[in-house]
């Protein structure tokens, strides 16, 4: 990986900071008329997800991070690792529980996810924004009650619990927004 100078900083650039890969969110050029120029940079630590700010002297350079976002198909989980496959090369990658994190609640086999690779191995996994999942466990449906509000918890096939309207039943397939974990509607078959 090459080095990047502050004038190449732009949002989305992946760099190493204190040994961790970070993604630049925002880069502000600050310069007193006669004085030293700075770059006030906001970064997200890709390991911890934490956002931090750092002020660089303009012209300084830092090491780029070998970080790559790639769409991959989720294959299966063997109890220890989650396996993903590159669609073009069929190359498989195993992701640890730390990398998968809460995303595991939304991982359905064969769905396409964005896997962030750091030095070639998965650093984090982002699920598709919308997933369609089958309800495996919920209280029996109340057929008549379709219009009014009211919801109940339903467990879906991937293990997550989603609040769904009362009329839904075990075996129904629902659409969920993975960013909020909210029920979006019934999947159209």
């Amino acid at each position: 990986m090459g080095n990047y100078s502050t004038n190449e900083f732009r949002s989305g650039l992946k760099v190493m900071l204190d040994g961790d890969p970070c993604s630049i969110l925002d880069n502000e050029f600050v310069k007193p008329g006669k004085g030293q120029a700075f770059n006030r940079v906001k970064l997200r630590n890709l390991k911890t997800g934490r956002v931090l700010e750092k002020t660089f002297k303009s012209g300084e350079s830092i090491e780029g991070a070998d970080v790559l976002d790639m769409d991959m198909q989720y294959l299966y989980n063997d109890g220890d690792f989650w396996y993903f496959m590159e669609p073009d090369t069929f190359e498989q990658h195993q992701a640890t529980e730390t990398a998968v994190g809460d995303t595991q609640l939304w991982l359905k086999e064969q769905d396409t996810c964005m896997v962030t690779l750091y030095n070639g191995s998965p650093l984090s996994v982002t699920p598709p924004i919308h997933v369609e999942l089958e309800i495996v466990e919920t209280d029996p449906g109340l057929r008549g009650d379709t219009a009014q509000g009211g919801s109940k918890p339903a467990k879906v096939v991937t293990g997550a619990t989603v609040k769904v309207p009362l009329f839904l039943d075990q075996g129904d397939v629902i659409k969920v927004d993975t960013r909020t974990g909210e029920y979006q509607g019934r999947a159209k078959d």
Binding site: E28, P32, G35, Q36, R40, T55, S58
Partner: protein, 306 residues
């Protein structure tokens, strides 16, 4: 709004009998400042620089006896681009013979407040404070007498842990830009008595506490740097020493040393009248008048679209 502001500024100076001048934007030499880079231009076999300010030409005019003069036009600085910077920008620079820096600050106040009342029917609050007092208040530190180690330690304590080995001027710039500038009162703020190490081309003097400070000031408008002025250095020999020191620092920072302006030197030998001068960022003033936070919003064609 830009056209209205230009008209207002020209009327303001006409009423004060300050003469508009039109110095070149392109010249064979340029400034030696450590932190200002000039854009290089090629003309046939020769090379020159787009001027970062009309200062040197205007000082030659002053030495030739032109009296009070102003320039309203373009200036250029390399690699300066951001929400408050564009490599080509509009500068208002003026010099007042026999004024000290306080008389000039008073004139800036009436010019800026006049622009606010004329163009947007409001009046900014005006505050004056010294550079030293700002540091005492925000950081409990005397920027003129504090040791380099104390300045570095303050930068580190404020969370800038990579600044432990920076120069005095850089530590001061960092602390000023990051800690003091954002906390300045709203409205127009004048800060005077800059540190001697940042005197640029201002005279220096011993203040009432016996500290060597420069007769340089800056104006800020809602925490945005607006203008930089001096009670001008007149000693040709001292000026050359400062240029040489700039070049020594440039070389140490692995930047090319810049040839000095021989014409300016000759004019200084003849004699610059006692005067104060200031450069004001017109685009920054427009940003405040229009209530916008990005310079691109007051430029018809910012650099990205040029």
């Amino acid at each position: 709004m830009r056209a209205e502001l230009f008209a207002y500024l020209r009327t303001f100076f006409a009423e004060q009998s300050v003469l508009e001048v039109d110095p070149p934007c392109l010249a064979a030499t340029t400034v030696t400042d450590l932190n200002i880079e000039s854009i290089k231009a090629q003309m046939g076999g020769a090379s020159g620089y787009l001027q970062t300010s009309p200062e040197f030409f205007m000082k030659r005019m002053l030495a030739s006896g032109l009296g009070d003069i102003y320039y309203l036009g373009k200036a250029f600085r390399d690699a300066e681009q951001g929400s408050r910077h564009n490599p080509e920008f509009t500068l208002l620079e003026w010099y007042r013979v026999d004024y000290d820096e306080y008389q000039l600050m008073a004139e800036i106040e009436s010019l800026v407040c006049g622009a606010f009342s004329r163009l947007i029917n409001s009046t900014p609050r005006v505050t004056r404070t010294s550079y030293g007092d700002c540091f005492e208040k925000s950081l409990q530190l005397d920027p003129h007498t504090a040791s380099l180690e104390a300045l570095q330690a303050t930068a580190v304590n404020q969370g800038y842990k990579d600044w432990a080995n920076e120069t005095r001027a850089n530590c001061l710039d960092l602390l000023f830009s990051e800690i003091i500038e954002p906390s300045l009162p709203k409205g127009l703020v004048f800060i005077y008595d800059y540190p001697a190490c940042q005197a640029a081309l201002a005279q220096t003097y011993q203040d009432e506490k016996g500290r060597l400070v420069s007769r340089r000031f800056e104006a800020f408008l809602d925490s945005v740097e607006l203008a930089n002025g001096y009670f001008e250095l007149r000693d040709a020999q001292q000026q050359n020493q400062r240029f040489n020191e700039d070049n020594r620092l440039r070389t140490r920072a692995k930047k090319p040393a810049m040839a000095t302006d021989k014409h300016l030197d000759r004019a200084m030998q003849v004699g610059l009248p006692s005067c104060s001068g200031v450069a004001l960022g017109v685009d920054r003033l427009l940003m405040q008048l229009c209530g916008v936070s990005s310079i691109n919003e007051v430029l018809a064609f910012p650099w990205e679209r040029c």
